[in-house]
Symmetry: C2
């Protein structure tokens, strides 16, 4: 767009798309089990003067290919024109069928491809805008509603270690008692003041028993359970009835908006989702059917930080509460989540994070600027931009690990089938 | 909020609330007639180094009082924390009953008091942020979707002049032919490429006849009619049927969301409103009832530019189109409307403006930076902030005029009754 040269010009010089891998733990879920490596993609938008902005997204091959197509369109785009970046993404994906590359192992397949691909570029642009203007990203989003962002400890049933390998430092968690021990470690290590259990693994009775043991052990702790659509509506009704006084919300108790609506109508617990309302196109039906009380936002598939603020506005207008979803992620996404959460007035719950499951030294951001957990929260960094800086040596090592690890997409079901050939990920399961 | 001093501090030093008046024309509407003066309030947020930001809002006494209460709360607030400014507004209005001070002579009474009072402060803050960062406001809103913002010429039935005064330069417009002449003057003078007629004055048949004459005279020109809720549902149905092939939309054809919904269901024309869906609290009912196809946004009552972007997001998600409403305004609001419209992807129609009805020399912004109309559009200014600068001498003169004019609120009905004592503003009227 031609514009009088009355303000400084800040143009994108080039964009790097760097796939990386880091080590994961054998965390169990409805789709199977986490494999040994998490794949992520780092988006680095660079200006000619050396200033750069960082974004982080999924690492599936198809998604990386899309990001590369976008990157090729961005040279010369003004970093203060997010609308122009969005146009470039739409142009790069104009002939894309939009299928696949979701990065979430089949658990979230309805997200919008343009929004999902746009997200890391928008985060990197905001990081750049912050660095250029000397403001933290939260200020570019309208300013902070909170100065600390609380996270919840994310509990997983898990194997002791990967098949053929030594047990990891967390060990096995396949019983209520082992989950309670895991919870203690989470609370002691990071100070979390709420806990979430990934369900859909042992079945509703064992998982309800786990929640009840957590309640006995942590009488005041807000608790959530996420079976990822594992249950039929009757099973969901029955299990929720049992846990009605124990949970702050139940996440994706059954399959689809119709199922969630039935459960929500019973009114025993707030119903949350990050599986069935994952794109703006889903909101009219979700709101008309009153199928959810809480949406777990996630800037990685809702189209970045400003689009997530649009989600916030819509939810606020319709009385829907917000929580925040997490995948396995690195320090760039953690920072983005913190800035967004701080700027989001209608965020009513502690945010999810997989953070404790990762070696803190295995990251692409430098250790000096890593955001520390204190009492389960992260203080909103006051530095310009996201507040994290790239560690080029770490980035190179993790890119090397990506090249060597032999994986090109996340597939929890395939990994589970390498151990249990008959594993069936279908839902509802119980 | 305590924050590490890692970025420059930009704090509000003090805020000036300056009521001003400028000369109006006797423009007729459903509530009566414009009086001789438009009252507005200029909000000037100043930093200690002399940098200032500008906002403009209604001039009713009660509204001015509310703005002054907010201004007293803002010293020391960080200009990059819009959330903190919003908190200050809520605090200042905590004990406010929220009634009155709407600034729109009874035609829009449902707007949210916090949003309405917050608006000029938010605009001034964004102007300041733009000046500090060297970016035009449109960039702070996410960047421009368009580089020129089209406006529509706003036609009014009017008296030749105020009672006892000479006819003004526009003369009388009480017949279809006189409105056609007014339209020619608008198109020739400003280059408008769409036209809007303020209705609710002569009754549906005469107004439909006026529209039909405009169509014959301007065969390709998009036309709109706004009777401001003047008609019963049957009258609305009948009149819309007559004009179905002529108008791009019909604005507030009848009273209330239920009435609009009935008209909208008939489907003859898109139904627009700026009377019955004027706050976020109205959106759930409006969307559920499908009562409107188009919302006329207005940052003056929707809570500023970023809140108007939230409205845009909601409308986009639900397939509602956006247009933009206007009251009589000065150059600050014109600039704010241009930046907002440029950043609003879902704005599907030319924006309303009362601009031609004002003497261009009578303004608080300096002539050098005034935004010119070319072909009915205004180019988005590329200067930092809103792109307009205060003319202190003009501001002082218009503040003086406010003090001398003898009016303290807009009351089109009272002014009409000074001429026609039995005038009844009730709706529906026909």
């Amino acid at each position: 767009m031609p514009r009088p040269a009355l303000v400084d010009s800040h143009l994108i010089d080039h964009v790097e798309i760097v796939p990386v891998a880091f080590h994961d733990k054998p965390l169990l879920n409805i789709a199977g089990v986490h494999g040994p490596y998490v794949l992520r993609t780092i988006v680095i938008i660079r200006m000619a003067d050396g200033t750069y902005g960082l974004g982080e997204t999924y690492g599936d091959a198809q998604h990386i290919d899309r990001c590369r197509r976008v990157a090729a369109q961005l040279r010369g785009v003004d970093v203060f024109n997010i609308a122009a970046v969005h146009r470039a993404v739409r142009a790069a994906l104009a002939d894309d069928p939009g299928t696949g590359g979701h990065g979430m192992s089949g658990m979230v397949t309805g997200s919008d491809t343009v929004d999902r691909v746009f997200s890391p570029f928008e985060v990197a642009i905001l990081d750049l805008q912050g660095k250029i203007t000397g403001r933290p990203v939260v200020d570019l989003l309208g300013g902070a509603f909170r100065d600390r962002v609380p996270f919840s400890g994310y509990l997983f049933y898990k194997w002791a270690g990967f098949p053929g390998a030594q047990p990891d430092e967390w060990g096995e968690a396949l019983t209520p008692g082992q989950i309670v021990a895991q919870a203690h470690r989470m609370v002691q290590g990071w100070g979390f003041r709420s806990l979430k259990l990934k369900g859909g693994v042992l079945g509703p009775d064992a998982e309800a028993e786990t929640i009840e043991q957590l309640r006995r052990e942590f009488p005041q702790m807000p608790l959530r359970l996420d079976p990822n659509g594992a249950w039929t509506v009757p099973t969901a009704m029955q299990t929720i009835e049992r846990l009605a006084d124990v949970l702050e919300y139940i996440e994706d108790p059954t399959v689809g908006m119709d199922g969630l609506a039935e459960v929500a109508r019973a009114g025993s617990l707030p119903v949350a989702t990050n599986m069935y309302v994952v794109a703006f196109a889903h909101l009219p039906e979700a709101i008309a059917s009153k199928c959810v009380d809480v949406i777990l936002s996630d800037h990685h598939f809702w189209g970045g930080l400003r689009r997530s603020q649009e989600l916030n506005a819509i939810c606020k207008a319709f009385g829907i509460k917000l929580s925040m979803h997490s995948n396995s992620h690195l320090g760039i996404s953690l920072a983005a989540m913190v800035h967004l959460a701080a700027a989001t007035d209608n965020l009513n719950y502690a945010c999810d994070t997989h953070w404790p499951w990762k070696d803190p030294e295995e990251d692409v951001v430098d250790a000096e600027h890593a955001l520390p957990f204190v009492d389960g929260s992260i203080a909103v960094p006051g530095r310009p931009g996201l507040g994290v800086e790239l560690d080029e040596a770490r980035l190179a090592a993790m890119n090397q690990l990506y090249a060597e690890c032999g994986y090109t997409e996340r597939d929890d079901t395939a990994y589970m089938r390498s151990v249990e050939p008959d594993f069936d990920p279908s839902i509802p399961r119980w």
